[in-house]
Structures are given as structure tokens and as C-alpha cells.
């Protein structure tokens, strides 16, 4: 058990937990948009299974964040409040998670970069001094291992496929690459929790890059030259796409507060 944080540290822990919850929720929601639209039924099922894993992971983090926020407060916050009643500037997800799906190559590229990041991130996070964060990471890591494998297979298949599939994949990589830098640039709440909860995210960049390079090599692709990085997601500064997702995702709870299935 870690020592009970002071209020300020607890707020930062809630922010940190929300950053992980929001990133998984948005990526899961985007993948879920493929339901019924996959290229073949097996892959339709696969991508929606991955979406389900991510939304499940998000729920675990939201439940924990709700507990932290509710503690000592008269008004109780629930996981649904956090997912459905916050505005875009309160979301802390990585920008890569909110990008539209584009074609199959674009979606696969987003998922491959994201899952590989999750894989190394959670591998560190299972050693967090915060027991609940560590437990969620431990649970999620097993699922993410399968996501990395599945998306790597697709990168190889499309990259080392036809001229058309390779062209589309290269286009997707060039467009998404600037969004990967944010994964390894810590926000203030990550830096401040470094000793108690968080992990040194910059340390996993080399592992991530090595994995990407090895999969790209097999896919006959090359890693883009260094370019400038997009950032802002962790601090609530988002692309224009997030508002549209939230409008759809949150509509029911906003229009009919407290609605249950």
C-alpha cells in the first residue's frame, strides 16, 4: 500500500488515471466504428474484440479515477460521469487515439503505434507503487500483447503486399508519425508523480522505436525521418475531431441525464 497522497497529489493521480482511461476509451471507440464495416467478417470480429478490450481497460481506469475524485467529496462521481459528461478540453487522451479511422491501412497504423506504446508503457507501470494502477496495467498488458501481434501482422501484410497496399500504408505512416512523439513527452502530472506512481516514459522510447523498426523491416518499410511532433492531448488541447466523437458518444447522457439501458 502506498502512503495516502495529499490532496494535490491525489488530483494529479486522478489526472494521470484519466489520461490512461481517455486514451483507451477514444482508441476503443474509434475501432468500434468498424463494427459491421470490416473487410472480412473475421477481421471485423477481431478489431471489435480489440475495441472491447480497450473500453474494458478504460472502465477500470475510470472507476479508479471516480473513486479518487469522490473521496472526501460530498457529490459522488461515477465512471459514467467521467466518460459522458466532460467536455473536450477536459479530456487528456493522446491525440493519436482521436484521429479518424481513414482506410484500413490508416486504422492499422494508428493501432500498431498505440498498442506498441501501451505494451512498453504497461510493462513499466505494473511496477507502480500505486496498487490499483499496477493491477489495471497487469490486466491490460496481457490483452495488449495480442493487439501488438495482430496489428504487426497487418503492417507486414500490407507493407509487403501489393503496390496499392504499400502506398496506402506509407501514406498513413507519414500522416500519423508526428502524433507518436507525444507518447514519450511527459505531462506535468506524469513528471510530478514520477517517484510515487508514474514511470519514466522517455525510457520506453527506444524499446518502442526498436519494435517499430523491426516490424517495418519485415514489412519492407522505412521509419520516417525525424519531424516535428504534434502535442497537447494530455493537457486538454485537442484536434477538431474530438468534439465530433464526443457529440455522438455523449448525446444520450446529455439529452437524458442518468439514462440506463
Amino acid at each position: 500500500m502506498y502512503s495516502k497522497p495529499t490532496n494535490n497529489a491525489k488530483n494529479e493521480l486522478a489526472d494521470y488515471t484519466l489520461f490512461l482511461a481517455d486514451s483507451s476509451l477514444l482508441m476503443g471507440h474509434r475501432l468500434g466504428e468498424w463494427t459491421g464495416h470490416g473487410p472480412v467478417i473475421e477481421q471485423d470480429i477481431a478489431i471489435t474484440n480489440i475495441a472491447l478490450d480497450l473500453i474494458g481497460q478504460a472502465r477500470n481506469f475510470y472507476q479508479y479515477a471516480a473513486e479518487l475524485i469522490s473521496d472526501g467529496n460530498e457529490t459522488k462521481t461515477t465512471e459514467d460521469d467521467l466518460a459522458y459528461l466532460r467536455d473536450a478540453n477536459e479530456f487528456k487522451n493522446l491525440l493519436i487515439a482521436e484521429l479518424p479511422n481513414g482506410d484500413w491501412a490508416f486504422t492499422i497504423t494508428k493501432l500498431f503505434f498505440f498498442s506498441t506504446w501501451q505494451f512498453y508503457f504497461y510493462q513499466k507501470l505494473i511496477n507502480s507503487k500505486d496498487e490499483q494502477v499496477a493491477a489495471i496495467a497487469e490486466k491490460s498488458l496481457k490483452e495488449v500483447t495480442y493487439h501488438v501481434r495482430w496489428s504487426s501482422d497487418w503492417i507486414i501484410r500490407l507493407g509487403d503486399g501489393t503496390d496499392e497496399s504499400k502506398k496506402r500504408l506509407e501514406k498513413a505512416i507519414a500522416a500519423i508519425w508526428p502524433y507518436t512523439g507525444e507518447m514519450f513527452t511527459p505531462a506535468a502530472f506524469e513528471d510530478n508523480l514520477k517517484d510515487s506512481v508514474s514511470i519514466d516514459v522517455s525510457g520506453i522510447k527506444d524499446d518502442w522505436l526498436e519494435k517499430v523498426q523491426s516490424v517495418f523491416a519485415e514489412a519492407t518499410l522505412s521509419v520516417p525521418e525525424k519531424m516535428w511532433w504534434q502535442s497537447g492531448g494530455k493537457n486538454g488541447v485537442h484536434t477538431e475531431h474530438l468534439g465530433y466523437i464526443l457529440a455522438e458518444m455523449q448525446f444520450m447522457q446529455r439529452a437524458y441525464p442518468g439514462l440506463e439501458w
Binding site: I50, L52, D53, Q57, E138, K139, E143, Y146
Partner: protein, 175 residues
């Protein structure tokens, strides 16, 4: 079936031990909604049973984070226990240590196979569990099978096909 000895079970009167056994027996009658031949004990979803005075606590763990059956399983546990006269029941969800197919009982694996689902082949501490493995066809027992998709009808299964008898089948993934 393993009964975990907790402080409560040790310090309780002997009668409580038989009650704990009874609870485990009842839990063995609660089936997984998606794989109805397996009980939640076979699958390793039911983790621990504790008595706190009058209150009975059952600790369960999800197979996958997004498992949509967890709430339904909790309702079924409560129902099965209250039918046998237990009243004050608390269901606790626990994430760590994370659920693994290593906890599946041998009886459970046999039942899976008889139901037409290939049981998990290796143990997760075997580092190669994600690599290509030989999965036996639950219908004709051939090892000449191929992976169709890593994700099947539920999160815990992959889709395979037998090259000999031609039948597609579900494989319960190592996790």
C-alpha cells in the same frame, strides 16, 4: 478444487469451514454465460470465499477487461446462493493477480474439448505461448490445423480450421 484458507476461515468455528465448502459447491453450479459447459470455478473466475460475521463475500475476477458477462455472472452467483438460503452476499471484483488460463482446471479443459472448443495448449509462463503452436482439432483430433483469426466469437477465443476434417473450431487462447 482449491479452497483458499483465509484468516476468517481459520479463526472461524468448524461449522464455518463446511459452510465455505458448501459455497464452493454452489459456485460450481454457476456456469459461464458464454461457455455454458464450464462453471466459474472451472474457469478460475471465482477466486475466494470469505465470511465476515453474517456477511458472505465472494471474490471474482474478470477473464478480460471488457468481458461483458461479469455483471451477469455476479447476478447469477447471488441468485444461486440466495436459493440455498444465503442472504447477506457481497460480490467483490478483483483485478490482481490478473486472471490466466493457467487456472483452468483439468476437468474444465476436458469439458471444453467435449463441447468442441480446443482448450489452451501451453502455460503462459512458457514464453512461446504467443508463437505458433499445434492446436488439436476437438472433432477429429488431428494436429494438422491452421489459424484463421486470432480473435474469435468471444475475446477469449481464436478461430481455427482443421486441414483434415475441414471443420472450423474455436480455440481457447492462452492468456
Amino acid at each position: 478444487m482449491k479452497i483458499k484458507m483465509t484468516e476468517q476461515t481459520i479463526n472461524s468455528k468448524p461449522a464455518a469451514l463446511s459452510e465455505i465448502r458448501e459455497v464452493w459447491n454452489i459456485l460450481s453450479s454457476v456456469n459461464d454465460p458464454e461457455i455454458p459447459v464450464l462453471s466459474i470455478v472451472d474457469l478460475g473466475i471465482a477466486r475466494e470465499v470469505k465470511f465476515h460475521g453474517e456477511m458472505l463475500e465472494v471474490i471474482i475476477t474478470p477473464t478480460y477487461s471488457g468481458c461483458p458477462a461479469m455483471d451477469f455472472i455476479a447476478v447469477n452467483i447471488k441468485q444461486a446462493l440466495s436459493e440455498k438460503g444465503f442472504k447477506n452476499i457481497k460480490i467483490t471484483h478483483q483485478l490482481s493477480p490478473a486472471w490466466t488460463t493457467d487456472w483452468m482446471t483439468d476437468e474444465g479443459k476436458q469439458k471444453l474439448k467435449a463441447f468442441g472448443i480446443a482448450p489452451p495448449v501451453s502455460k503462459t509462463f512458457d514464453k512461446n505461448y504467443l508463437e505458433t503452436i499445434e492446436v488439436e482439432c476437438p472433432h477429429c483430433h488431428s494436429l494438422n490445423t491452421k489459424l484463421i483469426s486470432q480473435f474469435g466469437s468471444t475475446a477469449c477465443k481464436a478461430l481455427y480450421q482443421c486441414n483434415d476434417c475441414g471443420e472450423p473450431f474455436d480455440y481457447f487462447k492462452c492468456h
